[in-house]
């Protein structure tokens, strides 16, 4: 099989997606996204800004050494990488995406910071995701209004969705229990709901699983298969997805991690090999 793990593949995929002028906010499952962000900084995006869950804004992490990927997003040790630390509620008020030349309007030197006031990109997990890109962190519906499975809770995903340019839904396994026709409860609204409610944020750009990437049909706003990961077939995805898998005109295949990407990831970012297993 491949000589890299799905977690490494996911980190590389997100790293490629990150642009130099982005501000990224990372929530839970810190390891993959911290790694993706760090890798992007090392390879092509030295100006990106990363904000971790609790209250820390990390900037320019390229010039510091990170001995180990963090287990939590709020540890005291993370403060050593920070260029600013603020109260957590301020996260939602004062620390929006910074200016950056790739988002110029009318030839201006500066972007409209308040348009996407939370961040450019944010990663959202879920116990379920549906074809609209709605995700569920609340639970699975049981009998008499009770939940048969109590999920972790929505955390701040709904708050962030309003003001983040693109969210990326990720699932740590690809099966019919997770990818469903319609989620039992909505924590993170999909593209359609975001548009209907005139949010600044445009909702999910992708749903990423260990098998593939779904994007959204620009007309129907429904998920469609966009790219498969190396070695995965369209039939495999269809057989393991709980909604009808529609495909983009041409389904692409994700380029495996390059030698340079893997080397940077393993020697400069994930030195202890947390993502390798």
């Amino acid at each position: 099989m491949s000589d890299y793990s799905w977690k490494e593949m996911m980190a590389v995929v997100f790293s490629r997606e990150i642009e130099d002028t982005d501000k990224i906010t990372s929530g839970a499952h810190t390891e993959i996204f911290f790694a993706a962000t760090m890798l992007a900084q090392k390879t092509h995006a030295p100006n990106l800004k990363l904000q971790l869950g609790g209250s820390v804004t990390l900037c320019q992490v390229t010039d510091v050494d990170v001995p180990e990927l963090p287990k939590t997003s709020t540890g005291y040790e993370l403060i050593r990488y920070a260029e600013s630390v603020h109260d957590h509620p301020d996260t939602f008020l004062f620390y929006g995406a910074p200016g950056g030349k790739d988002y110029y309007k009318d030839g201006s030197e500066y972007r409209d910071v308040n348009h996407f006031w939370f961040a450019d990109k944010f990663f959202v997990g879920g116990i379920q995701a549906d074809k609209w890109g709605n995700t569920n962190m609340i639970g699975l519906a049981g009998k008499d209004g009770k939940m048969s499975f109590r999920g972790p809770g929505t955390i701040g995903i709904n708050d962030i969705a309003v003001g983040v340019r693109d969210t990326y839904v990720f699932l740590t396994a690809h099966d019919k229990r997770r990818l469903v026709e319609s989620v039992d409860y909505i924590s993170h609204p999909g593209k359609k709901v975001c548009r209907e409610n005139e949010f600044y944020g445009d909702g999910p750009k992708w749903i990423v699983t260990p098998k593939c990437i779904f994007d959204f049909d620009p007309d129907t706003l429904e998920a469609r298969l966009y790219m498969t990961f190396p070695g995965v077939t369209v039939d495999d995805i269809k057989a393991n997805t709980g909604f009808e898998v529609k495909t983009a005109t041409k389904v692409g295949s994700v380029e495996p991690p390059t030698k340079a990407e893997l080397e940077a990831l393993r020697t400069e970012v994930d030195k202890t090999g947390v993502l390798r297993h």
């Binding site: 939590t72 809770g153 929505t154 701040g156 709904n158």
Partner: protein, 301 residues
């Protein structure tokens, strides 16, 4: 000068005796950091019942412990778990799924909006996050309305959230209730400001001159009650003092998981070993373990 300034320090027993069954108690900190664990354990030891617990924006397993110990009637929490160590709290799952606790579905900023409304004396705070989700359907305290200015967008009215107590861990405090965080403050200032009474748990009581040396650092001014509890955040980290005790957290995860799966003996045994007088608890942890958790202060205060 005849009258002396009033000190507000209390023993942990006297402090926790002020918390009454059925009250609404907010527990500070965030994730695996800065939770007032010594006070939480004393609340369990003294058998508090029917509490409404308000968690921090991203609670850890301190809330799960209170639930598993039978202290909680209602929970207001955006999340209960421990990120990579334990994505979802096991007792939280057990009690939620069986309907033994009532949960007010919320989110990080909906919680803060409630604190903000309480702190600023407003009838509600307006927030759009949560519109288009299931949260307002599951939490009837949130009321959706149409923006009266632009006339199109839906907004949630978030009513004041006023805990009877905010229990907050601080790095150090003077005897008059002036506390300073020596690391991240998370949402502690908002939680404290929203509550009717503030109880701080401090690693150290310091002279008032230490506070006056850097008043910019004071995060909790004039707490009503101060409890000194060195290593009182264990097994979680206390920013500026020690990191989280991964072994202890994983042991907790194991025992609480057993409880969820029906092995209550392992859980009862866990409570017996850990719910003790604070210094007896520290003896259980052991001096070698405690000292190994030291973190060097990153910033000089």
């Amino acid at each position: 000068m005849s009258k002396k300034r009033k000190e507000v320090t209390k023993s942990i027993e006297d402090a926790v005796a002020l918390i009454k069954d059925g009250q609404t108690v907010a527990i500070g900190g965030f994730g695996a950091d800065n939770h007032p664990m010594a006070i939480v354990r004393e609340m369990i030891r003294t058998g508090k019942k029917n509490l409404t617990i308000v968690a921090s924006a991203t609670a850890g397993l301190e809330i799960d412990l209170l639930i598993g110990a039978g202290c909680v009637k209602k929970l207001i929490a955006p999340y209960v778990g421990q990120e990579m160590y334990c994505p979802i709290g096991h007792n939280y799952r057990k009690y939620a799924e069986s309907g033994q606790i009532e949960i007010a579905e919320t989110s990080e900023y909906l919680l803060y909006a409630g604190f903000f409304a309480a702190a600023s004396g407003q009838e509600f705070f307006a927030w759009r996050g949560g519109v288009g989700t299931s949260i307002p359907k599951l939490n009837k305290d949130l009321v959706e309305f149409i923006d009266p200015i632009g006339k199109t967008k839906k907004i949630l009215a978030v009513p004041p959230l006023r805990p009877d107590w905010a229990i907050i861990h601080v790095g150090w405090s003077d005897a008059y209730g002036n506390g300073q965080h020596l690391g991240a403050r998370f949402g502690d200032r908002w939680m404290a400001r929203a509550a009717n009474r503030i109880m701080t748990q401090t690693e150290r009581i310091v002279p008032n001159s230490v506070i006056r040396k850097n008043p910019f650092m004071t995060t909790i001014a004039y707490a009503d009650v101060v409890v000194e509890a060195p290593y009182g955040g264990h097994p979680y980290a206390a920013h500026g003092f020690y990191k989280e005790d991964v072994d202890f957290i994983l042991d907790y995860v194991k025992c609480s998981e057993a409880n969820r799966k029906g092995d209550s003996k392992m859980w009862d045994d866990y409570l017996k070993r850990h719910i003790r007088d604070h210094y007896a608890y520290l003896d259980t942890v052991g001096i070698k373990k405690l000292l190994s958790l030291y973190t060097h202060p990153i910033v000089s205060w």
